[in-house]
């Protein structure tokens, strides 16, 4: 056991936890003022809901003893056997409880990320039902395939440092399914939906960026050179993501916006996530720039296709997750991480194929299962607000609150 590693992962878990309230504010600022609390609640409440799921199902399904490469069994139900002594298989220098709670924070934020796609139009209770089922049927299996000992994608050599596949692609694919099943907000394309509080969105961005150091740096699971590499790659990708996005919109639309800076930073951060511990700083800079440009184009296309992905989850997390996972296969270098792999630029094309397989499998699986889940929950419980409630705003109709009473 290493006390320094333990201190680092404890602090990192705190940082990753803080990302979920950060996300709540990031999303909350972008909706209309009548929906700010409903939107915040959909992120914030995941801390409670998914943490419970994690204790009884999630941790065991994701990291428990492997069954056929596809799922962990339930022998760690209720954290049975998960103690202060290190696990022999994961993060062997820190207490397993610390690893467990660190991973819990990832499970919490992933379904929260999806909520941006269907913001301002979904009922609270059906949403909760969907989220728990999604965690069980999508997050836990994919997490096991990629990170669980014996998981089949991991065994094939598919790499994901901190969650490009497990977190960003799963939530992006689910977001796409949600938009397709649930449809657009009333008036979408006819009236413009103005963000009601952009300073709040910037606050959320700051919290996310800060927390992302724990997310990516902490994924080294030790306070070592790899953690430093991942930390630095994270910052630089956030930096170029922001710059590239803002330059794009400046060129295309004539103005650099605050919302563009915030979105661009998040696109860079999301995209570097799978590659963070495998690439050097200059590669991270390239990856962030690619992210800012491609995600900007993806988000601008949304309007033309007519998808109401309200807060751009598909364009940022889905697209970012795909690009980042593939970029790992291009930019990875064993000079940076001796325990990692060489990518295309280091003369090896094999990893890129594996990464593409990971994208196809995870993207396809997450999309199909999420689509079915949305269909089923929508059919049984009705996920959409009534027209009247949507007009009134979900803060009042779903939570009997109003955010601002000046």
């Amino acid at each position: 056991m290493d006390k320094a590693d333990t201190a680092f992962i404890l602090a990192s878990a705190g940082l990753v936890l803080l990302m979920t309230p950060g996300l709540a504010l990031f999303y909350g600022g972008m909706v209309r003022d009548k929906n700010v609390l409903g939107t915040i609640m959909q992120s914030l409440f995941m801390i409670a809901l998914i943490s419970i799921e994690w204790v009884y199902l999630g941790y065991s399904m994701s990291f428990g003893p492997d069954v056929g490469g596809v799922i962990g069994d339930l022998s760690w139900f209720g954290l049975k056997g998960v103690t202060g002594s290190p696990s022999p298989d994961y993060a062997t220098t820190i207490p397993q409880t610390v690893f467990m709670v660190y991973q819990c924070m990832f499970a919490v934020i992933t379904p929260a990320l999806i909520t941006g796609a269907f913001a301002e139009r979904v009922r609270f209770v059906p949403f909760l039902v969907f989220s728990v089922l999604w965690a069980v049927l999508v997050y836990n299996p994919v997490c096991h395939w990629v990170w669980g000992k014996g998981g089949w994608l991991g065994r094939l050599g598919v790499l994901d440092f901190a969650g490009g596949l497990v977190v960003h692609l799963t939530c992006g694919a689910a977001a796409l399914a949600g938009v397709l099943v649930l449809g657009a907000r009333k008036g979408f394309g006819r009236v413009s939906f103005m963000p009601h509080n952009l300073p709040m969105t910037v606050l959320g961005t700051g919290l996310l960026w800060f927390g992302w150091f724990g997310f990516n740096g902490g994924s080294a699971l030790a306070a070592d050179e790899i953690a430093a590499t991942a930390f630095v790659a994270t910052h630089f990708a956030g930096m170029t993501g922001m710059l590239a996005w803002v330059v794009m919109e400046w060129v295309v639309r004539g103005k650099a916006t605050t919302l563009g800076a915030a979105s661009g930073a998040v696109s860079g951060l999301a995209t570097i996530t799978p590659a963070a511990g495998f690439v050097g700083p200059n590669s991270a800079i390239m990856i962030g720039a690619i992210a800012g440009i491609v995600c900007y184009l993806a988000v601008s296309m949304k309007g033309r296709i007519g998808f109401d992905d309200s807060l751009d989850v598909v364009g940022i997390h889905g697209v970012g997750g795909v690009i980042g996972t593939l970029c790992l296969g291009i930019f990875a270098s064993t000079q940076v991480n001796p325990g990692g792999v060489d990518g295309l630029l280091a003369g090896s094309s094999a990893q890129l194929g594996k990464q593409a397989l990971g994208v196809a499998v995870v993207g396809g699986y997450a999309f199909i299962v999420s689509w079915l889940l949305f269909k089923v929950v929508h059919a049984v419980l009705g996920m959409r607000l009534s027209d009247e409630a949507e007009a009134q705003g979900m803060d009042l109709t779903e939570h009997s609150e109003t955010a601002y009473n000046n």
Binding site: P195, L203, F213, A223, E225, T229, F231, M242, V336
Partner: protein
């Protein structure tokens, strides 16, 4: 040296904390302006995360911390972070690349601090040019002089976490900015009220927590000096708030939230250069004096009549200057100041501060004049009336 996982863990977290200060500063400043300028003000801090990081990679780190050339600047060995490895370097127990990232966060927030001086009236394009030129011509050299093995370091100037490099430097530049760019329309005639003080308090709180990473992290190792720096930081901040609030209560008749937030920042600024050199008792004195002194600085500003919109000169300039001198007076841990029988230290501190002020004032002035000639510094009068958010960014902060 061998990598120490404890030090590395500590510095990873400290670096994240210092990064967090820049969004914190964006909110601190954003709350203080009028609502028509809130996003532009936020953007001027937040965007430093992008622009300065890029410059740092390309040549900034090399100029600041590259092998010394003539005691004034680093050479170009570290351009594009060449030769900066993820192994530990000489004399440090953390990866080189982590030290580079930690120092980057300081380079980001320093120019962001200046933006408070020209809030509510500068063009975004002029801002980008200014930030790029200023970090290149002012921050990197001064940083090298003090921390990169330059002439101030050789002279023995003490600056634990950036009193001279960050606060005096940005405060002096802020004074020049306020004067060269000129007053906001209606300054002194119309009341200009902060749009969102709770946001400013949130920003102050983020700055305060981030400052633990800033000051304690500057020990570069998780040991007794880091603990001392953390404690002195906390005391100076708390007493700084106290000093400011008592002073304004006495002079203006009411204690204000804004005063508490500003006073805390003033205390934090003042303890920055000395936090690892002074004992907790002297930290209380340093913070308390800073609170009162910086408050008086603002009164002085109103008398003189320059429009340092968000009081960068009074808080960072004056607070930093006091902190640098106070370090020369009260230092007793790892160095000796005036009170501990070494008056020479105070002289050295004064020379360091004077050099930074002089250099920053002159170069900032030239940079501003050149940019004014190329693209113009200010938005036009109509744009200023409408607000920078709409004119410069096509956005509005609040639709509530």
């Amino acid at each position: 040296m061998e990598l120490n996982t404890g030090d590395t863990a500590f510095m990873l977290i400290a670096t994240a904390l210092v990064m967090f200060m820049t969004p914190g500063l964006a909110l601190f400043y954003g709350g203080l302006v009028r609502s028509k300028n809130v996003l532009a003000t936020i953007m001027q801090s937040f965007f430093c995360l992008g622009i300065v990081s890029l410059i740092w990679v390309v040549y900034g780190y090399s100029l600041a911390f590259g092998p010394d050339v003539g005691n004034v600047i680093g050479n170009l060995d570290f351009v594009f972070l060449n030769n900066v490895s993820w192994e530990t370097g000489t004399g440090r127990t953390i990866p080189d690349i982590l030290f580079c990232a930690f120092q980057l966060m300081f380079a980001i927030i320093t120019p962001a601090l200046i933006t408070g001086a020209f809030a509510e009236r500068m063009k975004f394009s002029a801002y980008l040019l200014f930030i790029s030129a200023w970090v290149t011509l002012v921050y990197f050299p001064v940083c090298h002089w003090v921390w990169g093995g330059g002439w101030l370091a050789d002279m023995g100037a003490l600056d634990f976490a950036g009193g001279t490099v960050i606060h005096i430097n940005s405060g002096a530049a802020a004074l020049v900015c306020a004067i060269v760019i000129g007053k906001r329309r209606g300054y002194g005639r119309d009341a200009i009220h902060p749009n969102n003080l709770p946001m400013t308090v949130l920003g102050a709180a983020i700055l305060w927590i981030g400052w633990f990473g800033f000051n304690a992290g500057s020990a570069l190792t998780a040991g007794p000096i880091a603990a001392l720096a953390l404690m002195t930081t906390q005391l100076a901040a708390g007493v700084g708030a106290l000093g400011w609030v008592l002073a304004e209560w006495k002079i203006q008749g009411r204690p204000t939230t804004l005063g508490a937030a500003s006073g805390a920042v003033a205390g934090l600024v003042a303890i920055t250069p000395g936090c690892g050199f002074v004992t907790p008792v002297w930290a209380v004195v340093i913070g308390g004096v800073a609170g009162v002194l910086c408050y008086l600085g603002i009164i002085l500003k109103t008398k003189i009549g320059y429009d340092d919109a968000l009081d960068v000169v009074a808080v960072h300039g004056l607070g930093g200057l006091w902190g640098a001198l106070a370090t020369g007076i009260f230092a007793s841990v790892g160095a000796k100041g005036l009170l501990y029988g070494n008056p020479h230290q105070l002289t050295v501190q004064a020379i360091g501060a004077g050099a930074a002020i002089f250099y920053s004032v002159v170069v900032t002035f030239v940079i501003l004049k050149v940019i004014d000639a190329i693209v113009g510094l200010r938005v036009d009068s109509e744009g200023e009336q409408q607000g920078l958010d709409v004119v410069e960014h096509s956005e509005v902060g609040y639709s509530i």
